[in-house]
């Protein structure tokens, strides 16, 4: 068991939860909302692709990869500040 106070634990968890919600909102936009509107987005051209098509074959995927790296970077900072980072 770690030796930090229960308030510190609660604060750590509420920040973790906040970050998780933020990540899931961005995820939902690129996983659901934009692909849902692919027809309209196809009117826009991006890198020579119709944008709707580009997102579902590549754009959203890139966002997912970057999103996880971003989340881990922020989560590590949250853990370290609360003194519960491991390394």
């Amino acid at each position: 068991m770690s030796d930090i106070s229960s308030e510190a634990k609660a604060r750590h968890w509420s920040r973790t939860r906040g970050l998780t919600i933020l990540v899931l909102v961005i995820w939902a936009i690129f996983a659901f909302i934009l692909p849902w509107n692919a027809k309209a987005l196809n009117e826009i051209s991006f890198l020579g692709f119709p944008l709707g098509y580009y997102l579902i074959v590549q754009g959203s995927l890139i966002v997912f990869v970057l999103l996880i790296f971003f989340q881990n970077w922020r989560q590590d900072a949250i853990d370290d500040e609360a003194g519960v980072g491991e390394e």
Partner: protein, 605 residues
């Protein structure tokens, strides 16, 4: 091999391995130039790679419980990322994905988004917490968090059903590839495939599977990318086509009306599995199309985050932080293949349709196409069929039938690449199918040996006994799966999607709420698992047998949309109707939420 030094030298070992593999490919290319036949090269590719995997499996043999179940928890994040990517990318991803995009257009691309976006859920909701828990298997988490053998047993049942559905498809795929490369009947190919799979996993459990999966990832990603780069280069789309094939998409859309896309075939092929292209490459209509896309993506994502063979990979890292980091690398390595598949599908389609390219077949003389070597090759194994239905001597789009699988397998031949590339692709497909089958078989056997046998039936069993039981189960389940696979009940991809929906229906909410909702208790979790799983399965049974029509297009690919809400409601309602979990459990949940400190379960539980 000394273990400590092996971990320290991982970079060197795998760099040497990759170099060795490339030398082997070059050697095969030279043999081809010297006139060695295509069949021999195919056999050499398959045999060489399988022998290497088996060798790694043998070198990683172990009699330690934590090495067998969680690779000693010493797999660095990057390597775990590669192993997870191989574990994840199945025969279906490798062989069928590009073909699915070729035939399915926008509707099919839901798989691409779903099978990558799911990792955001894995990272946010699951992996770091399960790693902190220190469990050996997914039911181990359920059993400890919720307490009691009933919850553990329910998790084992769902795990077995979901993973078994999936593993038969993988053994089927490895059998298909082995049969084609070695020129043996499919029924034998399945058993040869199983033998290779067991050689990788039986002696060393998770440790052996981890290090073979890393090796398999390297083979499969090289095998997937090289033909695409080569083909793209040959056709003037640049060395790396991924960012520049927009023109090809536009050109296909321009050609589609010219080749009368959407005109139904007037004849049907004399054998199953082949089809004509009818769906536009990129033409979402909004409304129902959007719903189908999003619902498919959602089910695949939730399934990703619930499939035990994926989650258990994150038990093998040295720390919680490393577990998260390895999710990021996993998705990166998966992404490399997934953003290539649509490029491959697009370029292949363009090659066949565009009359200005030398590879075009649609709109060309029927006799000329019929005499192409690759057409004859694939026609002879019932993967392709053409018939001049209207007798005009020209091949129309609705006269050209093929199996989705061959988009990947035949692309090198279509593009006129040397045969050595086809051999490489076969080795890659085999690596993909074997690595996933290994992960799945191990997930099933470990759940049965650790959770059912050790935790429920005989808690006093000693280490040696447990590991012997684990191995007997592994072989038994492998044989059962090969037997089912040899019956060829469903197409490769159908069974895979079922597995995702089974896992999501039964396990998603009990796993997530176990960490995110302290109030979740034993009764709730049991209700959530049983109700979700039964509702999803019953719905699948009803629609699969045509007893009811799918509601809102929720079909066999999407039945998690029935199972998951039922699971959530049952779990929340039953939890609230029964007493809150005791203080000890609540403290345990608090402890899971912070990365530092020891695991909840001790190392040798």
């Amino acid at each position: 091999m000394i273990k400590g030094s092996f971990i320290e030298n991982l970079g060197r070992v795998y760099a040497m391995y990759t170099g060795g593999f490339l030398v082997f490919v070059a050697l095969m290319a030279i043999l081809e130039q010297m006139g060695v036949g295509a069949d021999t090269i195919g056999i050499l590719f398959v045999a060489f790679t399988v022998v290497i995997y088996a060798l790694i499996g043998w070198l990683s043999r172990t009699m330690q419980v934590d090495a067998y179940y969680v690779a000693g928890r010493e797999v660095p994040a990057v390597y775990n990322g590669m192993a997870t990517a191989a574990d994840w990318m199945s025969g279906a991803s490798f062989v069928a994905l590009a073909g699915g995009i070729y035939f399915g257009g926008y509707g099919y691309l839901g798989f691409i988004v779903g099978w990558t976006g799911g990792y955001v859920l894995v990272n946010s909701l699951m992996a770091p917490y399960l790693r902190k828990f220190g469990c050996y298997t997914v039911p181990d988490f359920i059993g400890t968090r919720y307490g009691g053998n009933v919850a553990r047993f329910c998790a084992v049942v769902i795990l077995v059903v979901a993973s078994f559905t999936y593993v038969t498809a993988q053994i089927n795929a490895s059998g298909t590839i082995a049969a084609r490369a070695l020129h043996i009947p499919f029924e034998f190919g399945v058993w040869i495939g199983l033998l290779g799979i067991l050689l990788c996993s039986m002696l060393g459990g998770m440790r052996a599977v981890t290090w073979t999966q890393v090796a398999q990832y390297i083979v499969l990603i090289i095998a997937y990318l090289v033909p695409v780069f080569w083909m793209s280069n040959k056709q003037g789309f640049g060395m790396i086509p991924h960012f520049s094939y927009g023109d090809a998409v536009a050109r296909i859309q321009e050609l589609e009306p010219l080749v009368s896309l959407g005109v139904a075939a007037t004849e049907s092929a004399p054998f199953g599995g082949v089809r004509i292209l009818t769906t536009p490459h990129n033409d979402p209509q909004g409304g129902m199309d959007s719903w189908k896309f999003v619902s498919l993506a959602f089910c695949m994502m939730a399934g990703t985050a619930s499939l035990p063979h994926i989650l258990m990979r994150y038990f093998t890292t040295p720390s919680v932080r490393a577990a998260r980091k390895s999710v990021a690398y996993s998705l990166f390595f998966i992404f490399l293949l997934y953003f290539t598949a649509p490029a491959l599908a697009t370029l292949t389609k363009l090659q066949l349709l565009d009359p200005t390219l030398p590879t075009a077949i649609i709109g060309q003389s029927f006799e000329a196409v019929k005499s192409l070597a690759w057409v004859q090759n694939w026609e002879s194994v019932n993967m392709l069929w053409l018939s001049d239905s209207n007798g005009d001597g020209i091949l129309q789009l609705n006269e050209f039938f093929m199996r989705p699988d061959i988009v990947v397998l035949a692309t090198p031949e279509i593009a006129g690449l040397p045969y050595v590339i086809s051999g490489l692709v076969a080795a890659g497909g085999l690596a993909a199918a074997m690595s996933t089958a290994d992960g799945l078989l191990l997930a099933i056997a470990n759940a049965l040996s650790h959770d059912l046998y050790y935790k429920i039936i005989d808690p006093k069993a000693d280490t040696k006994h447990r590991l012997v039981v684990a191995r007997i189960l592994l072989v038994g389940i492998g044989c059962a799966a090969a037997l089912v696979a040899s019956l060829q009940l469903t197409g490769i991809l159908g069974a895979v999607a079922w597995a995702f929906c089974f896992a999501a229906s039964g396990l998603f909410f009990p796993l997530v709420l176990g960490v995110w909702w302290k109030r979740a208790n034993t009764q709730g979790a049991i209700a959530g698992m049983i109700c979700g799983f039964v509702a999803g399965s019953a719905y699948l049974y009803l629609i699969h047998n045509g007893i009811i029509e799918p509601i809102y297009a929720i079909d066999g690919l999407r039945f998690a949309l029935i199972g998951m809400p039922v699971s959530l409601i049952a779990m929340v309602v039953v939890s609230l109707m029964t007493p809150a979990p005791d203080a000890e459990t609540q403290a345990m949940v608090d402890e899971v939420r912070i990365p530092s400190g020891g695991t909840i379960l001790d190392a040798k539980h």
